[in-house]
């Protein structure tokens, strides 16, 4: 590689890292407790999944219409927006709001037990974990905050790629895993930066890029609703949105949906007029029937008045990528050992970010030229930098 090419990559690595590094540190620090949110919820007694005993709410229990009536009785004057099922416990959640197209901030999430038909009360909210999650997702800035963090994630991926481009020539005279300690502090810091950066690379690439996809979740859902969903429900296009008073039986709708997509487990129902449905349908979202496709949701659109199937179709590839990217970002699919690995690699990433800042702070213009020479010729044990 030519010296000028290396210099260009050096500049890319420096600036993509510098701009994003403080946000990435925040994402790593807030991400650490989020890895263990199930365990933390269990400690503070908010994990209903393990507290409730009985048939999973996705499989059966009291009729859905009865559960919905119970939930609406708790929130007089409100309309249902979502009903979500658990694959592990009788926990059933119902989201309500003042109008069918209510904003997230106006929604109320209620917990119910589908086996006993008991209302457990509103979902715990406002706690430490919710604060951490909000900071991690959008820094309390809503969609602009999410998109901004998505851009920072994109810069992180650029920093990773440019880092590898610089790593290759730099390491040509050093065996893999070299950590020189007898040289200057800078060499020591640089070697740690390089080693941890390269060993964690596969994981950081995946968690970084899936984080970017997740940041665009809201626009991707809007895109599906305005595109494929509109096409599937084209015959209703001219009609006014269905009034909540005209909603028909949920149990009949679920039966129709399950006969359209047999053998699958429902994850949630999007009610008419919300982000996840048309103005006239119950959108029943089913999980895939194999472990690998479990995160890929397929909606069956059921006319909310007549409980007849309108259409059931897999979501577009970009939305499927979004659904597959969630577990790969959260690390919650392989038990506690995977979470511990996630935490260890997050700590390694924090150290890479921190050593990167330290290396940048100890810079001087003349030294930068020397660093580029060092990368171009390959660092060696005998050369003090």
């Amino acid at each position: 590689m030519k010296r000028s090419t290396i210099k260009a990559w050096f500049v890319v690595h420096k600036w993509s890292s510098l701009v994003s590094t403080l946000f990435l540190l925040m994402l790593c620090v807030t991400g650490l407790p989020l890895i263990f949110h199930d365990e933390i919820d269990a400690i503070v007694g908010e994990d209903y999944e393990v507290m409730l005993d009985g048939e999973p709410s996705a499989e059966g229990g009291r009729p859905l219409d009865r559960m919905l009536d119970l939930a609406l009785a708790e929130r007089p004057g409100e309309v249902p927006l979502f009903m979500a099922f658990s694959q592990q416990s009788p926990l059933l959640t119902v989201t309500t709001g003042p109008t069918p197209d209510a904003d997230g901030s106006e929604m109320t999430l209620l917990f119910l037990d589908r086996t006993t038909g008991e209302v457990l009360g509103p979902a715990p909210s406002g706690g430490f974990m919710e604060f951490v999650l909000q900071l991690h997702t959008d820094m309390f800035l809503g969609l602009p905050g999410m998109l901004f963090l998505g851009v920072m994630g994109g810069l992180f991926v650029i920093a990773l790629v440019s880092g590898v481009v610089l790593y290759a020539p730099f390491m040509r005279r050093l065996p893999f895993g070299t950590l020189r300690t007898s040289r200057s502090t800078r060499v020591k810091t640089l070697d740690q930066h390089n080693l941890l950066g390269i060993v964690a690379l596969g994981w950081t690439l995946v968690v970084g890029s899936t984080g970017v996809i997740n940041a665009f979740a809201d626009p991707l859902v809007d895109n599906w609703r305005g595109g494929e969903l509109a096409e599937m429900t084209a015959q209703y296009a001219g009609e006014d949105p269905l009034d909540p008073a005209g909603y028909g039986s949920l149990d009949a709708a679920m039966a129709a949906a399950q006969s359209a997509l047999p053998g699958r487990s429902p994850q949630f129902i999007g009610f008419p007029g919300g982000d996840w449905s048309s103005g006239h349908h119950y959108a029943v979202f089913f999980q895939g029937d194999r472990p690998l496709t479990q995160h890929l949701l397929t909606p069956a659109l059921i006319d909310a008045r007549t409980a007849e199937l309108t259409d059931a179709r897999a979501m577009p590839p970009i939305n499927q990528a979004l659904m597959m990217s969630k577990p790969l970002h959260f690390g919650d699919y392989g038990g506690l050992p995977l979470k511990l690995i996630w935490a260890a690699l997050t700590l390694a990433t924090i150290w890479v970010l921190w050593t990167g800042i330290v290396l940048w702070m100890r810079r001087s213009p003349a030294r930068i030229e020397r660093r580029i020479d060092e990368i171009a010729s390959g660092a060696a044990r005998g050369v003090a930098a």
């Binding site: 390491m171 005279r173 950590l179 060993v199 690379l201 472990p291 038990g335 050369v383």
Partner: protein, 66 residues
């Protein structure tokens, strides 16, 4: 005596050689991440094993440093 080059300076390895271990690590990590999604039990064990390699390698490097 060749004083122009430090005696300890080894020859430059090819880029392919330098990147061999990193490439295997990246492929191993990504395989581990995807395998974990394919089911519980054995796939999870494989995922833990593959994703532990980067952590174990860096621990070895830190123990042997200097």
């Amino acid at each position: 005596m060749r004083s122009s080059r430090p005696a300890s300076r080894p020859a430059r390895a090819s880029i392919a050689r330098v990147m061999a271990i990193p490439t295997l690590l990246v492929l191993g990590s990504i395989s581990g991440l995807v395998l974990g999604l394919t089911g519980d039990g054995l796939p999870d064990l494989l995922a833990w094993g593959l994703l532990s390699i980067p952590i174990i390698l860096s621990m070895i490097a830190f123990v042997r440093r200097g």
